[in-house]
Symmetry: C2
Subunit: 711 residues, 2 copies
C-alpha cells in the first residue's frame, strides 16, 4: 500500500465511520442490537445466567453503599486505592445491570458517581504516593491504574449513555473524561507512545473514550500514535510487542495482563470500524496471542511463573475470560475454547459471552488440548523462545517449560536456559516467581519487594547454571535486553520431545548449551526427564546447577550431613546472600541421586558429570530482615573449578504413597547406571539403564536431522 | 450379676453357640444368609457396586500375579513387608469376589496361597528386623503386623471355607493357623493380655480364628483374657481403653486404628453369639467410639493430629469405613452416618455395606453435623479430656481443639493444655504430629524417626506453655502417665464456646490454667479466638508460649529484625536444639500483634500480658543431620523471668486475598486496645475493642455459674 492509499484509508476508517457510528450506545462489548438477545440468553443459558447474576449482585451491592470518591492518598492495597478500584468495577457492573434489567436506578448510580468524580477530579494533584521511575497517576499511585480505571469506566458510561441526561453527560465529559484524556495524552505522553503494556492500557482508554465521546482525534491517536504516523500506537504495539507465535516478551503473567486492553480495544474498533478488520490484523495475531497465553499454563490453569509473576494467577482471571470469549465469538469458534470457558465458570455479559454460553449449552465444547510446542520470541520470532514439553493427559501431566526467551524488559529475570518441571498436578522443580505480596499494604504497599531484585530476578533463584556465583549479565537488565539465547532444536515427537538452546552472552567467554527431553521408554508409564547442561570455557570457573524442588528430600545416594548449628549464608551477592547452606557433601565420582517425595509421588534425580561434584542442600531466608522470602529448598550440583563441564541428569517420577491406606509402592527408582560416555562441542553421549535395559542417548549438535539418537 | 450367673452366661455364650454356629461359613462381615441380597445389591446400589468393582478388580489383579510368599526379611515399607501386606489384602478381596461372583478361581487362589504359607510358616524364625522394645513378629518386623495379617486372612478364609477341600483346609489349619494361634497366645502372650491396641489386634485375630476354626477355647481367651477371668481380653479392653465418651486415650489417629479390630471382632461375636449383645455392651460404647472418632476430625475429614499421628489420615481410611458401616447397620441407623459413607466413597462388601448403600440410594442421608463438645478421657471419664469448639458451617468452619487429656501412653506428647486451631479448610495453628515418614524405607524403614522423640513429642513443638526451656514432666513418659490435667469448665453456647482446664503437675511448683473461647460478636462474621493462659509460681521462671502457624507472616506491630546470617539453635535440649531463632524483638509494654496470611485469609493475633514480652520468630531445622524435619514456623511470646504471668491473645480471622482478581479486602484487623485489666488466681479481667465497641471479658475460676462474664 502506498502512502496515498494509506492516507485515504486512514481518512475513511478513522474519521468518517467514527462520526457515523458514534451515536449508537452501547457499542463495545455489548452492542445495542444484541441487547434483546442477551436479555433472553440470561434467562436460558446457565453460564450467562450465573455470570449475569454475579454482575447484578455486585451492582446491587454497590447501590447499597454510599458514594465514596476519596481524595487519592494510599498506595497499592490501601484504602483509597481499593475504593477507586471498587468504583470502576461498580460502574461497569451497574452499566451491565442497567442494560439487562432496564432498571434506571443503575444508570442513576453511575451518573451520580461520575458527577462526584467530575466535581473532584480536576482538583486532584499528581498522586502523593507516586514513585520515582514510575509515572504517577492522579487517582492511583501509578498512571497505569488510572488507564485501567478508564478502560472499565468508559465501558460502563457507554452502557448508560442514553440513560444520563445530556447536561449531566456534558458535566461528566467536560470535567472528568476530557481532562483525563488530556492527562493521558499530554502529561502521560511518554507512556502513550511507549511500546509497552502500560502504553496499551493508555491507548485503549483513550481510543475507547474517543469512540464513546465521538472524538475521532483520540481514536486516531490511539491507533496510530500521538504523531498519527503509525510509529507508535495500537497497530505498532501489535507489531512489536508480540512474536509471530503470539508471545508477549514479558512472559505469560504480563501477557495475560497486556492482552486485556488489546482485546477490549480490538472489539471497540471492530464494532465502530469493522472495515479495519482488526481481528485479522497481522495474520490473526490477537487470536494467536490468546491461544498462546492458554498454552502457557500448566494443567491447573496457572501461568508458568517466569519473570515477575504472581504465582496463583490462572486463566480464570478476568483478562482471559474476555480473551477466550472474544477469541471464540469474534475470531474463530474453536470448540476447545468452550472447555476453558467452562473452567472459567463465567462469561462476559456481552455479545461474545452470549455466543459462548449458547454454544456450551448446546454441547459444542471439546476438551482443551495442551500441545507440546516451541513458542518463538521477538517481533520477528528469532529471539529465542519457550519450549513446552508435555506428556500425559490433563489430569496427570508431566510438563517441562524451557526458557530460552529474550530478557523480557524490566520484569525479566536473569534465567537463561531455565527449566520449570510439573507433574501430578503440582510443581516439581518450581520457579520462585516474583518476590511480592500483591495488594498487601504491610508488605511495601503491595509493590515488588526489595528481594525481587536481590533474590527473585537473580540466576541462582532459577533452575539453571550459575557461573562463579554471579548472575547472567551481572544482573544488568540493559545488557541482558540486548542479547537472547538461540534455539538449536525442537521436536514434539510424543515419545521423545526435545528442546535445545544455546546462550553465549550471559557470561563472558562462557558458552552454555542445554538440551532437555521428555523421553518415554516402554518399561515405564511416565516419561523420564532427561537434562544435559553443557558449558564450555577457556578458563576455570565454578559452576552451580541448582534444582529448586517442592516436597521433602527423603533419600540420597550419599550420606546427608545437615549443618546442625550456626547456619551460614552461602555468599554475599547475586542472591547467594539469601541462601542458607544446609548441607554439603561430595558425591561419588560417578554421580549419584536424590529422591524427593512430593504430593505422594517420588522423584528421583540421577546425576553425573565429567568432573566430580559437590551436592549442596540449600534453603532460602538469609539476609532477609523483614522476613519477606517464602520457604524454598534446593539441591545444587557444584563443580568447583573446571573449564568445560557437562551436567547430566535423569529425573524419574515413580511410586505412590497412600497415606489414608498407609501403603507405599515403587519407592525405589528403576533407573540406574547413568553414565556420561563422551562430551565435546559437537556431541554428547550417555547411557543409562531402566529396569536393567540399557539405553544410549546421543546429542549431535551439528546434525539437525539426527540431533538426538536413541538406542 | 453374681458370679454364678456370670459363670452360666460364660458357659452358654462361649461354648455352646460356638459349637453350634461354627458350621456356617461365611459368618463375619458377610453372612451366608445375606449373600443373595448382597449379590443383588451389587447390581443395584451405586456405592456397593463401586466398592465391589474395586474389590473384584483387586482380586483379578492378584490372580494375575505369581504366588509370592517370601522369606520375611525387610522392615516397614520394604519388599517382603509390602508383599505380605499385598497377600493378606488379596486373600480378603478374593474371598469376597468368590462369594459374590461364585467363581471358584478366587477360592483356588486363596487355597494355593495359604497352602504356600502353610508350607513355609513353621520354618520361619522370629523376624530378623525385629527391634528392641517391640515384640517381633514372624511375618513382619513387629508382631502387631502379624495380628493384622490374620485379622484379614481369617475373614478371607471364612469366605472360601466351603470351597476349599477338607484336606487342604486341614493342611492350612494345622501348619499355618494353629501354629500362628500358638505364636499369638503363647509367644506373644504379653501382648495378648495387654490393655493396648496391639493386644486388641491379637485378640481379634485369635477370637475370629476361634470362631472360623470352631475352636471355642480361643474365642473364650479372646473375650475373657488368657486366664479367662475377664481381667484382660476383649471386654476388659472395651472397659479400660475407652472413656465413657468413647475416647481412646492414645488419641484420634490411634483410636481410628484401634477401632478396626474392635468392630470387626464385635461383628464376629454378634454373628456367632448374638445373645452376648456385644454392640450394647457398656452403654453402646463401640457406637460412641465410632461417633467420637468422627467428631475428632476437622471438616476436611483429617483427624486432629495430637500425639504420634500421621497427618494426612482422614475418616476415609478403611478402619472408619468398617466403623461407619457397622455403626449404621448394626448399632443405630443414624442418617448422618450415610453422609460420611458417601464421603468415604465406599462401603464394605458385606451385610452392613448393603444396608448403607441401599439407604443412601434411597436418599436417606442427612448432612453430618460437627458438634462442639467436651470429650472426657480415662476409663471413668475423670482424667481430663479434649474440648472441641466449632463455629460456622462445614464449608468454612473455625475449629479449636483444646488438649487437656491424659498422656495417652507411649505415643503421647508432652503437650498439656495444647491448642490446635483450624479455619477456612486449613490449619491455622497446627500440631506437628509425628516425626515419621510412614512406609518410606529410606527414612528409618518407615518407622518413627529419632526426631519424634527429640522434637515432635517435646512441649515446645506444640501451642502451649514451656517453662524454663524444658518439657512437661521433663519428657518422662512414665511420670506423665501418672498425671492428668483437670477440666475446669466447658460451655457449648454457639456464640460463646469456652473450654478451661488446669495442669499442676507438668512443672513442679507451677500451676497452669488455660481458658480458650470462640467468641462471636455481632460486629464480625467470624468468631474471635480468645485465649488466656495463666501461670502461677512462687519462683521466677522463663515462660515461652509458641504459636506454630501456617502461612506467611506479613505484618507485626513491631519492626521485624530477621537474623541476616549465622543462624543459631535456640537451645540444647527438649526440642529447643531443633529451633532456629530467626528474629527476636521486644514488644511494646502493652503488647502488640502479628498478622499471618494463610490460604488467602488474614489472621491477626493481638497479644498482651502482665509483664513485658519478647517476640521470637522461629523455624524448625537445627540439629537435623538427616534433614528429617518438616518446614515449620512459629512466633513465640517470651516472658524471660517472672513468677506469675497471664498471656492474653485474641486471634481475628479477617479479610481476603483474591489472587486471580488481584483484590485484597479487610487486610487490617478490626480488633484493638486489648488490655489485661486484672489477673489473680480467682479472676482474670480484660477488655478489647471491635470496630470501636468495647468488650469486657472476665473469667471467674471459682464460679461455675458465671465462669465467663462478657459485657
Amino acid at each position: 500500500m502506498n502512502c496515498l492509499n494509506k492516507l485515504v484509508l486512514c481518512f475513511f476508517c478513522l474519521i468518517f465511520p467514527v462520526a457515523l457510528n458514534a451515536q449508537v450506545h452501547p457499542n463495545i462489548m455489548l452492542s445495542k442490537a444484541n441487547v434483546p438477545a442477551v436479555r433472553k440468553g440470561v434467562q436460558n443459558y446457565p453460564l450467562l445466567k450465573t455470570s449475569y447474576n454475579k454482575v447484578k449482585s455486585e451492582a446491587d451491592k454497590a447501590l447499597k453503599t454510599i458514594i465514596n470518591v476519596p481524595q487519592p492518598k494510599d498506595g497499592g492495597g490501601g484504602a483509597t486505592h481499593e475504593q477507586h478500584k471498587k468504583n470502576y468495577l461498580a460502574i461497569l457492573n451497574c452499566g451491565l445491570a442497567y442494560q439487562i434489567s432496564g432498571d434506571q436506578k443503575y444508570a442513576d448510580y453511575i451518573s451520580k458517581l461520575l458527577l462526584t468524580y467530575a466535581a473532584e477530579y480536576e482538583k486532584w494533584p499528581l498522586h502523593p504516593k507516586r514513585k520515582e521511575g514510575h509515572e504517577g497517576g492522579k487517582i492511583f499511585w501509578q498512571s497505569l491504574n488510572d488507564f485501567v480505571w478508564q478502560v472499565y469506566v468508559i465501558q460502563g458510561y457507554d452502557l448508560v449513555y442514553d440513560a444520563i441526561s445530556p447536561s449531566d453527560r456534558k458535566t461528566i465529559e467536560t470535567h472528568l473524561f476530557l481532562p483525563m484524556m488530556k492527562f493521558f495524552t499530554v502529561d502521560c505522553k511518554p507512556t502513550f507512545d511507549k511500546i509497552h503494556n502500560h502504553g496499551t492500557w493508555n491507548i485503549a482508554a483513550v481510543g475507547m473514550t474517543g469512540y464513546v465521546l465521538n472524538k475521532p482525534e483520540y481514536v486516531q491517536m490511539a491507533i496510530k500514535g500521538s504523531a498519527k504516523d503509525g510509529k507508535t500506537g495500537y497497530l505498532a504495539q501489535i507489531d512489536q510487542l508480540f512474536s509471530p507465535d503470539g508471545y508477549y516478551t514479558e512472559g505469560p503473567y504480563y501477557q495475560r495482563y497486556a492482552l486485556l486492553p488489546f482485546v477490549i480495544f480490538a472489539k471497540a474498533i471492530q464494532n465502530h470500524q469493522p472495515e479495519l478488520k482488526i481481528f485479522q490484523y497481522r495474520n490473526q495475531l490477537l487470536s494467536k496471542a490468546i491461544s498462546t497465553c492458554l498454552q502457557l499454563t500448566y494443567t491447573d490453569g496457572a501461568f508458568f511463573p517466569i519473570n515477575d509473576a504472581i504465582k496463583d494467577k490462572t486463566y480464570e482471571s478476568a483478562e482471559l475470560v474476555y480473551g477466550v470469549d472474544l477469541a471464540y465469538a469474534d475470531i474463530k469458534a474453536q470448540p476447545e475454547l468452550l472447555d476453558v470457558a467452562q473452567k472459567q465458570r463465567e462469561v462476559i455479559v456481552s455479545d461474545a459471552g452470549l455466543k459462548v454460553a449458547t454454544d456450551i449449552a448446546q454441547g459444542k465444547a471439546k476438551p482443551f488440548v495442551y500441545t507440546p510446542q516451541l513458542i518463538t520470541d521477538g517481533p520477528s520470532g528469532n529471539e529465542g523462545g519457550l519450549g513446552i514439553l508435555r506428556y500425559g493427559n490433563n489430569d496427570d501431566q508431566q510438563c517441562l517449560l524451557f526458557k530460552a526467551a529474550s530478557q523480557g524488559m524490566g520484569h525479566g529475570h536473569f534465567d537463561r536456559l531455565n527449566i520449570l518441571y510439573y507433574d501430578n498436578g503440582v510443581e516439581v522443580f518450581p520457579d520462585y516467581g516474583a518476590a511480592r505480596f500483591i495488594n498487601i499494604e504491610a508488605k511495601k504497599g503491595g509493590d515488588y519487594l526489595p528481594e525481587n531484585k536481590t533474590w527473585a530476578k537473580q540466576t541462582i533463584a532459577h533452575n539453571t547454571l550459575v557461573v562463579d556465583q554471579s548472575s547472567n549479565f551481572k544482573a544488568n537488565a540493559d545488557a541482558a535486553q540486548q542479547q537472547h539465547p538461540d534455539i538449536l532444536y525442537f521436536n514434539a515427537d510424543p515419545n521423545l520431545q526435545v528442546i535445545s538452546a544455546k546462550e553465549t552472552n550471559a557470561y563472558p567467554g562462557v558458552e552454555m548449551l542445554r538440551t532437555t527431553a521428555l523421553l518415554k521408554v516402554k518399561e515405564l508409564e511416565k516419561s523420564l526427564l532427561l537434562d544435559v547442561f553443557q558449558v564450555h570455557s577457556a578458563k576455570d570457573h565454578q559452576y552451580d546447577l541448582p534444582f529448586w524442588y517442592k516436597g521433602h528430600l527423603v533419600d540420597a545416594s550419599f550420606k546427608l550431613n545437615g549443618k546442625t548449628d550456626n547456619l551460614k549464608a552461602l555468599g554475599t551477592k547475586y542472591g547467594y546472600e539469601h541462601l542458607w547452606l544446609n548441607s554439603e557433601e561430595r558425591a561419588a565420582s560417578n554421580g549419584g541421586y536424590v529422591t524427593i517425595l512430593n504430593n505422594k509421588r517420588f522423584y528421583t534425580t540421577h546425576f553425573t558429570a565429567d568432573s566430580s561434584l559437590m551436592v549442596k542442600v540449600l534453603s532460602l531466608g538469609a539476609n532477609d530482615p523483614d522476613l519477606n522470602l517464602l520457604e524454598s529448598k534446593a539441591f545444587m550440583l557444584t563443580a568447583p573449578k573446571v573449564k568445560d563441564q557437562t551436567f547430566v541428569s535423569i529425573t524419574e517420577a515413580h511410586g505412590q504413597v497412600n497415606s489414608v491406606n498407609e501403603t507405599t509402592t515403587g519407592a525405589s527408582s528403576t533407573v540406574s547406571d547413568l553414565k556420561l560416555i563422551y562430551s565435546d562441542q559437537n556431541q554428547v553421549k550417555l547411557s543409562f539403564k531402566v529396569k536393567g535395559k540399557i539405553y544410549s542417548y546421543q546429542i549431535n549438535y551439528q546434525n539437525k536431522e539426527k540431533f538426538i539418537q536413541l538406542n
